[in-house]
Symmetry: C2
């Protein structure tokens, strides 16, 4: 197996240093010691070895006027707002993040599958209820692996109501409310491992009146035997994956489909009729070598209306103690197009990524181990289901050669596609119509129209509004897996490099690098007007709110003590309270401040308690008062000039 460095050496001579190229191309500019705008020079760098680059430790300098003009167009100066939100997965950090675009500033971390003592996620009773607990009250999971965030749609574009994200590690799906931008529901999907691909539907396949998201589709990447019996565990033929439909409102799984092969990414059609997953390991191999043996894998399409009719008709079975209806979507059971629930379109082996074009016409699968992308026509897949196409492979209308290691494709809404090339460390821009013409045999056209180096090894790439019919073709973000010499060294663990590219013109322009804590995979870029957040909670959202200061106090019921506190900067309504050692104490805190951004914290010394209450919010914690003495609680979220003095004593009587 070649190493990553060797892979790179395939196409770029190692002697050409990316950084030294930059230095040469931009020669003749004055040194300032601070570094300066070099947008024009950033467009065509060559490769680099980090050692060379770091040894240099050089700085570039004030750019010529033309370069400055190009650069400053993208600046977001103090006091100005960004044009877009980037809503991004946080990988195995377990969180979701919001960046501003074009600034690249992180404007929120949303704790989802992780524990976050800042907000009290995993600490408050409210968040523990969402996360799920064991019988002893401790959290069921402290880990999660988010990959893909997708929003709810109305009429083919984001409606800002919900965002959904997967947990590949523990097979969970989470929902984020678009008003408060907080996670409100988490569902564990039964009989699934490696839940990787996720996508919202865009309309109902049957009821044309339902032109908004009601389902979320969930692919599973790791096939399992659905049994702990040795005979099943040892027999690869017993292994399979489930494709799951989750209800976007109730967050309950509606149905599952048993599928051959491992499902990777997921996409949905604009007419609601099809969902698709690219597949590797259609060999059903259990080890690496087996997963790579076949020359072709597939992109599997799900006929949503037929599956739901089959479920309604009771043509289902169940697995283990899960009551969720499962239909058989394997190839063997779906040979007849006229009744098939699934259609497996062959694509070059071990593909990665499937994305649909904003006009709804084409699904694009990336080759990963093949230097091609495969374009599959939506209408031809439907034609196959209608019995009008001989072979599933006939739905392929183009397969342009784009470069080494194609992974994911985004769109500009003007007929162009932008594919990340992991091995080439490039973004390649290609024209869909030209690719189709080329595939048909027209030798006068070239599908690839531009390419740009990125730094280094891009995974996902995504464009502004690119997964909606409002794709506007302004920005593309390349999520690069390696940063190496791009930022100051901080030890063995590196951040990722997110590179912003202007795709508005014929040539792509690299604008800037920003950083991301590992490991964002995918993201969506959402126009700022789409989100309509609420900036202050409604006290009535919380039935247990301490609505008046006079309601503050301590109530005892046996060994259970409830302490009700209100806060207004810079004081808590209770400057002290007493409990007895061994009591189970519940503290309920309501923030009575109404001013936006005036958040209070509640930290309880040595009791491992911290959480915040935003304006008008209520939160609670429950713990055992197992240590006697005086324990100060204090405001941990800076609130006022007298913030330090905002504190009180919990007295635990021995």
């Amino acid at each position: 197996m070649k190493t990553r460095e060797q892979d790179r050496a395939v196409h770029v001579p190692e002697s050409v240093a990316r950084r030294s190229f930059l230095g040469t191309a931009c020669a003749g500019i004055a040194a300032t010691g601070l570094g300066a705008a070099l947008a024009a020079c950033g467009e065509a760098p060559a490769d680099s070895k980090s050692a060379q680059a770091k040894a240099a430790g050089e700085h570039q300098a004030a750019a010529p006027a033309a370069a400055i003009d190009a650069k400053t167009r993208y600046e977001v100066p103090p006091g100005q707002l960004d044009d877009y939100y980037i809503i991004s997965s946080g990988g195995h950090s377990g969180e979701v993040r919001i960046f501003g675009l074009p600034s690249g500033r992180t404007i929120k971390r949303i704790p989802v599958f992780n524990v976050d003592p800042m907000v009290g996620w995993g600490i408050t009773n409210e968040s523990k209820k969402i996360l799920g607990c064991k019988a002893d009250g401790s959290l069921r999971y402290h880990t999660g692996d988010t990959h893909h965030v997708h929003g709810s749609y109305t009429d083919g574009t984001y409606d800002g109501k919900y965002f959904f994200v997967n947990d590949k590690l523990n097979a969970r799906i989470a929902r984020i409310r678009g008003d408060y931008m907080e996670c409100d529901r988490i569902t564990e999907i039964p009989n699934v491992q490696g839940f990787h691909g996720i996508f919202t539907d865009k309309r109902d396949p049957v009821d044309a009146a339902v032109n908004h998201t009601t389902r979320v589709f969930c692919g599973a990447e790791f096939h399992i035997p659905f049994s702990a019996k040795k005979a099943d565990v040892d027999d690869a033929k017993k292994y399979a994956c489930l494709f799951t439909c989750v209800d976007a409102e109730t967050m309950g799984p509606r149905w599952q489909v048993k599928v051959d092969g491992n499902m990777d990414l997921c996409a949905t059609s604009y007419d609601g009729k099809l969902a698709a997953c690219n597949q590797y390991n259609t060999e059903n191999g259990l080890v690496f070598q087996e997963m790579m043996s076949a020359e072709r894998d597939a992109c599997v399409f799900f006929n949503v209306a037929r599956i739901e009719a089959a479920v309604k008709a009771g043509k289902t079975f169940t697995l283990g103690d899960s009551g969720i209806p499962v239909v058989d979507g394997t190839q063997a059971a779906n040979a007849d197009p006229k009744t098939a629930l699934t259609c497996y379109v062959p694509v070059p082996k071990n593909p990665h990524g499937v994305n649909i074009s904003p006009d709804g016409k084409y699904f694009v699968c990336s080759g990963k181990l093949s230097p091609t992308t495969t374009v599959i026509a939506h209408e031809l897949v439907l034609k196959w289901f209608d019995g009008g196409l001989k072979e599933p492979r006939d739905a392929v209308v183009a397969e342009p050669e784009v470069g080494l290691g194609p992974l994911h494709t985004a769109f500009d809404g003007k007929g162009n596609a932008f594919t990340t090339l992991f091995l080439d460390s490039q973004i390649v821009k290609w024209n869909i119509d030209k690719a189709i013409a080329q595939y048909k045999g027209d030798k006068t056209v070239q599908a690839v129209v531009d390419r740009i180096d990125v730094h280094y090894q891009p995974g996902h790439g995504y464009s502004s509004m690119g997964e909606t019919k409002e794709a506007d073709g302004r920005f593309f973000n390349s999520g690069n897996k390696f940063s190496k010499d791009r930022f100051l060294p901080v030890g063995p663990l590196h951040v990722e490099t997110e590179q912003l590219i202007d795709i508005g013109g014929d040539k792509m322009k690299l604008i800037h690098d920003h950083t991301a804590y590992p490991e964002p995979h995918d993201a969506i870029i959402v126009r700022r007007d789409v989100l309509k957040t609420k900036q202050v909670y409604a006290m009535s959202d919380f039935p247990h709110a301490v609505k008046k200061f006079e309601e503050s106090g301590v109530a005892r019921e046996g060994r259970k003590v409830t302490v009700r506190i209100a806060s207004v900067a810079p004081t808590y309504s209770l400057p002290q309270f007493s409990v007895k050692q061994g009591d189970e104490v519940t503290i309920i805190l309501t923030n009575h401040d109404t001013v936006e951004d005036l958040t209070h914290g509640f930290g309880l010394s040595h009791y491992d308690i911290n959480f915040i209450v935003n304006p008008q919010q209520t939160a609670s914690v429950t713990f055992k008062a197992d240590k006697p003495g005086v324990f100060w609680y204090y405001c941990t979220h800076f609130c006022h000039a007298l913030h330090l003095e905002m504190r009180g004593r919990m007295i635990v009587e021995a």
Copy 2:
């Protein structure tokens, strides 16, 4: 009590909108729809109400050439490195962060007191040992509240060896190794609550040859009765705080000092002789009103040499079951300057912050509730200890009026001080010599030489290398507690605004806003050449490393099973292993890749396990195999084109 909004109204008419001011001052510039450089306009904005600003939702446009020049001087274009590291506390997120400066990019999160599933902090055996566990193996704490990061010194400036950070919530001090930039030690300090101020010493007070950090000083803000007896708990006179000296190498507490009043921030002299803490609540009040009653509080100075002589002489006592020697540093016990261990210099009530000037001459306390800062001469404090000064207050050499709500002061190394004004939302620049002349009665001088609005309510401010004798006067960062309308709305919880200011000229210049997840308090700005990080681990650092692939395998000892795995992209050395239900399983994983930035993850489905191994690193986890069946483990940290295929099966036999 006035609200924050009312406080602001004191000095700025509400009708003047900061944002609309910007719009007016920069009139005549072309609209681009993207926003552009407005550095020149950012210098003198007035105030704003968030509602007004948000309603506008406006964007500024391409700036005139002069403004662009000013702006682009600070840009860090793609491929260029920053000039400085900002090493910042993360407040109640429990982490430490590293930003690049001037870009504002987050280049690392260092998990310290929090749980971070991305790296496996709080999940691996190695990190759990550092964090500390209960008898059942679960973590003792999941929360922490970091406030102040300070580095180790040699010869008055950072040596890059260590960085230390406090946990106010659970009274712990953590150390970060400067080579790998990871936390390697955490110590809980006994008999302390509200451990807030922390500072490294800069040399030994007695042995001139020791001109580097050997001690870390820790202040305590919350006074406690050191007893759970009702009589003690109810008697404010029994309450006191301890000042603690921790050994920088062993991380063990060396000695403690019993002190009157609550200690807030901490500073140390360049000659090693003095440590200082500003104090509020010298009244020893238990509730808010009592804490505010006295007109003056204090800045307490510790005579380090005398304290250590007293400890050596055994003039100590102990508290509870802590064996740490404690000396009496209360005012009553230290009335005679000639033998005093402590000196309480009166300053206006409830001060916040104490900082020493880079020339080592002056300690500056901020007034918080007084519009002044108090300048205390280091040599005069020493003179008091020598019996040469009548009253401690005589050590005050200046008390300039700077504005409302002064909190923290930074320095440019050229004789100027920069103080954050929380209530005025400003940074005020004042000259120390002028302030001293003014205090002496010279009515011709004005101490304040410049002021600039920030957005909004700054807490800490810090300058480039400003806490060393190499203060270079280039940058000042204002850590603002409220962001309100500065960034796109994302629900009730706001990020903080970090504003970068150029302090190189006579007038301060606002350069840009970046964001910080709540809640950074303090930070230090470190020149890039100071840090000499290692970018790849040494395998020999890990005694339990799986040094060769042939060492991979499963070893059983009763119900304890050890699984040894090595990784090289894109494979684990074990594609599968079997254990029995009920086994205690320890997995040891060594990353054999040597390429910088080539990190692997290890996620184990449904077993709540995830951690990473950086190049040449070894880490381990231990868990009970309580669920039978097949559980895929997979690489969670993107490593290779075949990263998705990098996985294997744990088979748990029923």
